[in-house]
Amino acid sequence: MIETVGSTADGDLIINIGPQHPATHGVLHLVVTLHGETIKKVEPHLGYIHRSIEKMCESLTYRQYIYVTSRMDYLSSHINNHACSLIVEKGLQIEVPPRAQVIRVLMDELTRIASHELWWGAMAMDLGAFTPFFHAFREREVINDIMEETCGARLTMNYLLPGGVLDDIHPNFQRKVKDFIKLFKSKIDEYDEMVTGNIIFQSRMKDVGYISAADAISFGCSGPTLRGSGVSCDVRKIYPYEIYDKLDFEEVLESGGDSFARYMVRIREMKQSIRIIEQLIDNIPEGEFQAKTKAVLKLPKGEFYQRVETARGEFGIYIVSEGGTTPYRIKFRSPGFSNLSALDHMARGGKIGDLVAMMGTLDLVIPDIDR
């Protein structure tokens, strides 16, 4: 039981941030012990939207379970689906046609930019600046429109199948993506003007929520959170999947370890994603967009693990298969869950305002944590 009311014996206040709170962006419940404005302890209290996706997946076939994973980290749903497809392809040794691979990677990177856009807006809003939120949505909408045209949905696309993609790209796709790149490049400097360079923003972010590299590894952080502490951990570079090993992009590293470093990692990552898209958009190979697969997919007996890099970090799927049409046990290693575990460590000694900034830079998506 967590004590959620009143004050402690030392006279410290216990404050519930969440389940309904503007800064948690979802139904995260943090029980915070406060000494004045200073945080002494942060205890996460989860489960408000736990749907037990792992249990649900035990009764779904390998084609059906993909759509459930879109509902976990809904901001990078396409990348989650990607992991699901990859693990089935790995188990069945399906050769994915090159066209499908390129389309998948393009969509991954577009999803990453869209996710970081939303994070950027929400992050600024957490710190009290409303305007960047709307500016971020201007670019994000363009990506969503591209997604809608090709995948048929804006957020939970369900565009992937084991063996390829559901449908070929829309004829307008290439033109629209190029337009988007042009738009994005003209607007990315505005982000620095509005937020990054702002003295108030910098003083709110610098030296806040510091986590050392060793601690970040011990807490199992991944993605921008770990890269902000200077540890190289990009799955796309270290354990490359699809065509990432043939692409030319940098892994973004910052050594600060504070909120500002994590912020800069994400901002620079958007530019790297644009770089990947620019390399691919004119070079989509012709050919099939789907491999021939059997009507009923049966994963061979054994254990499979696949990890991908979502916008939030390393997303892993662990499947124990008994050879049937459904997984025997499936486990999703979600980046948010591990990143959340570091929050208490980061927040101690900070102020309430810092807690909001930290949650912003951890980029928590609650369904991803609760699964």
Binding site: K55, S218, Y305
Partner: protein, 152 residues
């Protein structure tokens, strides 16, 4: 370190561990009692340095329960899997939250979903389930919830 070298290093550390064949990553089966000391060695050995615990899974095999730990090293980039077979009636294993601090939350999740007792865990409470949850652990295979289950 590649898989063969890892295998030799691990068997040198713990001769009683049995290595599973035909897996993507080196997979070893151990007794739950050996886990804590092995974990310490895996974490601190200068040639292994498994400092990144990225996945803690519990699998209900109906006859027994097994814990699966996915480990990786951020320095050497090698991965391995450690499995421990637990007793179904009284599943117990040492907590590794002192070695990898991420384990604290992961173990709490497995504790409430599978009922695995993590010994010497600093704070073994319900995390996701509502306070005062009684009855079976929901992720077990024989769990049935006639009230909240939506039947189609």
């Amino acid at each position: 370190m590649d898989q063969e070298a890892l295998k030799i290093a691990i068997t040198a550390l713990l001769p009683s561990a049995s290595v599973e064949e035909g897996t993507e990553w080196l997979t070893i089966n151990i007794e739950p009692t050996e886990w804590l000391s092995l974990a310490q060695q895996l974490r601190n050995d200068e040639f292994l340095l498994f400092d990144y615990l990225f996945c803690v899974t519990c699998v209900d095999w109906k006859t027994h329960v097994s814990m699966v730990y996915h480990l990786s090293s951020t320095t050497f980039r090698h991965n391995m899997v450690v499995k421990a077979k637990l007793d179904k009636a009284k599943p117990e294993i040492e907590s590794v939250s002192k070695i990898w601090r991420t384990a604290e939350l992961h173990e709490r999740e497995q504790y409430e979903m599978f009922g695995v007792q993590f010994l010497n865990h600093p704070d073994l409470r319900l995390l996701i389930l509502p306070d005062g949850w009684e009855g079976k652990n929901p992720m077990l295979k024989d769990f049935d919830d006639p009230i909240n289950m939506i039947k189609l």
